[in-house]
Amino acid sequence: MKIWNNSFQNIREQFSGSGDLQIATRRKCSTAALWRSPMLLVATLIALLVFPTVSHAAKDISVPLDSYETWSEEAVEAFDRIMVQEGGRVKPMLTYSRFNMMKFLGGGTKTKFQTKDGVEHKIGSSEAMMDILFKGDRARFLPFFLVEDSAAVIQIGVSPKSKRDRYSYEELMPGRAKLAELAEKYRDKAKAHSQNKAVNPDLTLDEKMVLELGGAVSSFEFLLGQFGFARKGEMLVNEQILPDELKQLATKLDMAEMLDKMPEMTIDQLFQTIRSAAGGTEDEKMFSSAMRLFFFHANSGIGVNLIQPQDKETEKWVSVGEAMITGLEKKDNRPWAKEKMAATQKLVEAAKESDSAFVNVATEFYEGQKALAGQRNNEGKQTDREVKYYNAKYFSNSLVFFIIAFVTLALSWLSPGSGFGKWMQRITIALSVIGVLLLIWGITQRCLIRNRPPITNLYDTILFITATAVLFSLALEWFTRIGVGTMLAVFTGFVGMWLGITFEAKESSDTMGKLLAVLDTNFWLWTHVTIINIGYAAGLIAAFLGMVYLTGAFATRLMGKAKESRKFFKTLNRMTYGTVCFCLFFSLVGTVLGGIWANYSWGRFWGWDPKENGALMICLWSLVILHARMGGYIREVGINMQAIVLGVIVTFSWWGVNNLEVGLHSYGFTEGVERALHLSWSIMGLPFLLGVFLFFMDRSEKQAKLDAGRKDDLAAEGA
């Protein structure tokens, strides 16, 4: 035990420069704490910028429903577990609902509204999806569509509410035809732009909003029509395309019975049959109408893939509409198709009956899926874990811990060196540790769900880099004990988790999607991708350390306390330099490993692809810092200024190259990060400017000393 303690002590000393520095810094806490005041200001400013965007402030919207009966927790749980195949993977309905509703709600997952009885309701994405699938008659009145700017609804002839507001499907209905027309027009315009950017202009913001709204309304209608066959007579969507006699017929006709009576045919043949005018006897006319209804429901029911196919070898799941079509094609398939239709119908009817009935039927449905999955390669075996993962909210809870840690850190700065301050520091560290443990546990769950290494997409990089940065910062604090590591842990944890949550909301798509063929290799994902992202994290920490150094050094210089805080800044500089070395090691190894991977998959080690160039620039700039320091061209201020440049390069490599939209690493493209990047570069630019001032201040001080020395020499010569 003693040996271990000694070793740790040694390492701590290595980072601190000397063993007695810790004591010195603790004694002179008030001096060292001078750097914290500008940091407090910067942190508060960032917090003020960030906090308003963390929560999606929902307005209370009155809906024309007399009351709203909330789904029971048990019903929601039973629904969440049902498996569905989407995007090439089997996932729980919870995930399906979450990301589909996010698309409607502009990245949010909650819908708030008030019914006529004056009761306020707040429902989650699962409840919203249950309403849409099973209680469409009330879902039509709920405000699921977030319109960022009322200009979008004005374009389609709907009377606007406030500038940014939520609308229900019913409220948008008057403009539905216009919306479809404009959405098609703008889709063509966007396509033309993507084909030739130089000639064809991009969509304006308003046009983009209309296009997005059009997509959201179509998706809503698609979901609304899924189980239409099971709701006798309740069309809910596209009913205007059906003549009255068909609507009447729909109230009586049982689609499963209808399936039995139909001749074997493909859906195309059915289409041709119903297109030809019905003639003959009344019965024949009636049968022709029934076939039209069958076609309508089968088509509306395509999309939500809840059903495992008959053939055990086929991986693609089917929707109830496809089951109906499969039954139509061959009489042999009809018992299976009818069984699936009946199971779906039971779900719909149970949802109408009561929550307890729904729990039983949904559980039975899920158990049926599980039993079949057991015979079929055990697909979806991690869906229960996925439900737990989303319900546990590891990342938003982690953010909460970092926010509290932020507050306790700020409190500790109010009285540095006092007992209160020290306790606040300890609490901050404890909260940061809990925050990062939650984050790591969440990442681990994601790995287990996918059976993949921690990073497979951009969202994963945010989580991984945040965890690495927080751990690295805490390790720095362990070795140096000067408070900077704690501050960085809180800051990177807070910003990283906020970024992760914002990114997920902005993308509003499954973050555990399937991989492209080239990425389907756990070996390279574990090695190259993980290592290079550790390098990114270290580069960012180096930049933050540089920012702290320059801001703090400038402040202490202004206060005339530069001499007293000399040791503190020397330690800080060592931290920056050590972190740059760490960044170089991981970036270099990661980049070369990436080259080796590229040589295996694309046939060349290096292709000057933007992502490769980004990684190369990190290595090159780290080497610039090392060689310039060794050659004596840069000293403390220079190292820290260059560390900030390194941070800019890391952010460019991490996010910026994706926006260039060229290269083989095209799986990382994302939109709208340019503004955020420019903002981050501006923030990093401010301490860099302070570094420029410090450089000139240093130079003039040295010049003054030289001049004074010369004067003394002259005086001595004169004497």
């Binding site: 799941w317 090691f585 610039v624 061209y633 390069i649």
Partner: protein, 410 residues
């Protein structure tokens, strides 16, 4: 302390040069410039494509960069910078550096980096790349270039069969001024070939089309060759030229040679221009450069899988038989991240087609690379990694020792 004066006398130049090329300052400056041109080259490829960016920034000696598209600034090119870096590392980090046990790690890691740079140069100078495209059941030993086009002239013997080809290589064609053209004397052929209007990207348009009404260029058989804007992806450019075959006795034949093929399918043969000269039949065509590998590859089965219910490729792999004279046949699987390496050539699963597959029969496309430095980066990484690990351990031990002695003193 007074600064020591530098001795600029010619006798001291070798020493000064040695000092200059081994300095940290030179290393830092070269690395800064490398970072800058890497950044500029990255942005340049957005509008101009990768090949153009490589040529201008990464494989050049010097370049002129237009800041904001307006202000020209001369900069050193990637090739020059990497050469200087190589010299700097060799002299500074290997020759000049004090050989101590303490520095052994850094010495080794610099060796690794030198090897990486050397590998890059060998690849740049000697590596070739092309592709081979096969339908199921088809076999070939021919590799086709992605971007290099050449003119081939063949005497046609018997029933449209040609045994030997005369080639005007791509290097010569690419240097041609479209407005001037050039005459080539192909040895042993009874005529010269005059190539004019060579456009790297061209379109042959009937003169009846409005677009060709006022277009410059020669009209041949009711067609004109029009110059097209270059694609940023150089592979998409389809060149064309006007070729005139002039016999010794003034006999003439002329045509438009155009590299276009209706589908670019693997079994599609380019249409040659057939003409007679001195009583013999000849065929001329513009086609992509091809070369042979010393074995044949037969595609037995192509497997293409998508993630269920999506258009996203999950796996594409080719089961092939490698055939070579005097060698037993060998069954090999080639898939993403698992290439076939044999006889100095590497076959990678690159792509598949046609675009409307699998409605039409699918083919598999392999990237075929021949690179003498293929595995050098791997060895360079191993060497650098070992070097850095040794350096890290030595540094840690030294720090630990120093700290212990400091504590003992205090």
């Amino acid at each position: 302390m007074p600064k020591s004066k530098i001795d600029w006398s010619p006798a001291n130049w070798p020493r000064l040069l040695f000092r200059f090329f081994s300095s940290y300052g030179l290393a830092a400056v070269v690395l800064v410039f490398l970072t800058i041109i890497t950044l500029f080259g990255t942005y340049y490829q957005v509008d101009n494509g990768l090949i153009a960016a490589k040529r201008k920034y990464f494989t050049s000696w010097f370049l002129i960069h237009e800041f904001f598209g307006k202000f020209p600034v001369p900069l050193p090119g990637g090739l020059l910078l990497m050469l200087i870096l190589f010299i700097n590392m060799t002299i500074g980090a290997v020759i000049k550096v004090r050989k101590r046990w303490r520095g052994i790690g850094l010495l080794i890691s610099h060796f690794g980096m030198l090897m990486l740079l050397a590998g890059g140069f060998v690849t740049f100078a000697f590596a070739t790349d092309g592709n081979m495209t096969l339908y199921q059941g088809m076999k070939s030993s021919q590799v086709q270039s992605y971007r290099k086009w050449q003119i081939e002239v063949r005497p046609v013997i018997g029933e449209n069969k040609a045994e030997k080809a005369w080639v005007i290589p791509s290097e010569a064609l690419e240097k041609l001024d479209p407005n001037e053209g050039k005459t080539y004397d192909l040895p042993d052929l009874p005529f010269d070939v005059r190539v004019s209007q060579y456009y790297k990207n061209a379109n042959a348009v009937p003169t009846s089309a409005p677009v060709s009404a006022n277009a410059p260029g020669k009209e041949i058989d009711g067609f004109k060759l029009l110059q097209q804007e270059l694609f940023t992806e150089a592979e998409r450019n389809i060149p064309g030229c006007v070729a005139e075959f002039v016999g010794e006795d003034g006999e003439k034949a002329e045509t438009i040679l155009w590299g276009y093929s209706s589908k670019f399918l693997p079994d599609e043969k380019p249409m040659p221009f057939i003409f007679e000269m001195g009583g013999n039949k000849y065929a001329a065509l513009i086609t992509k450069k091809t070369w042979s590998v010393p074995f044949e590859v037969q595609l037995d089965k192509f497997i293409f899988e998508k993630h269920p219910g999506t258009q996203m490729a999950r796996n594409f792999e080719s089961r092939v038989t490698r055939m070579e004279s005097d060698q037993p046949e060998k069954k090999v699987e080639i898939k993403m991240n698992e290439p076939m390496r044999y006889a100095g050539f590497t076959f990678f699963q690159e792509s598949y087609g046609p675009p409307n597959a699998p409605i039409e029969e699918m083919f598999s496309q392999f990237a075929v690379a021949e690179n003498p430095a293929d595995q050098w980066p791997l060895w360079a990484l191993v060497i650098t990694g070992i070097g850095l690990a040794i350096h890290f351990v030595i540094s840690l031990m030294e720090y630990s020792k120093k700290s212990r002695s400091n504590r003992a003193k205090s």
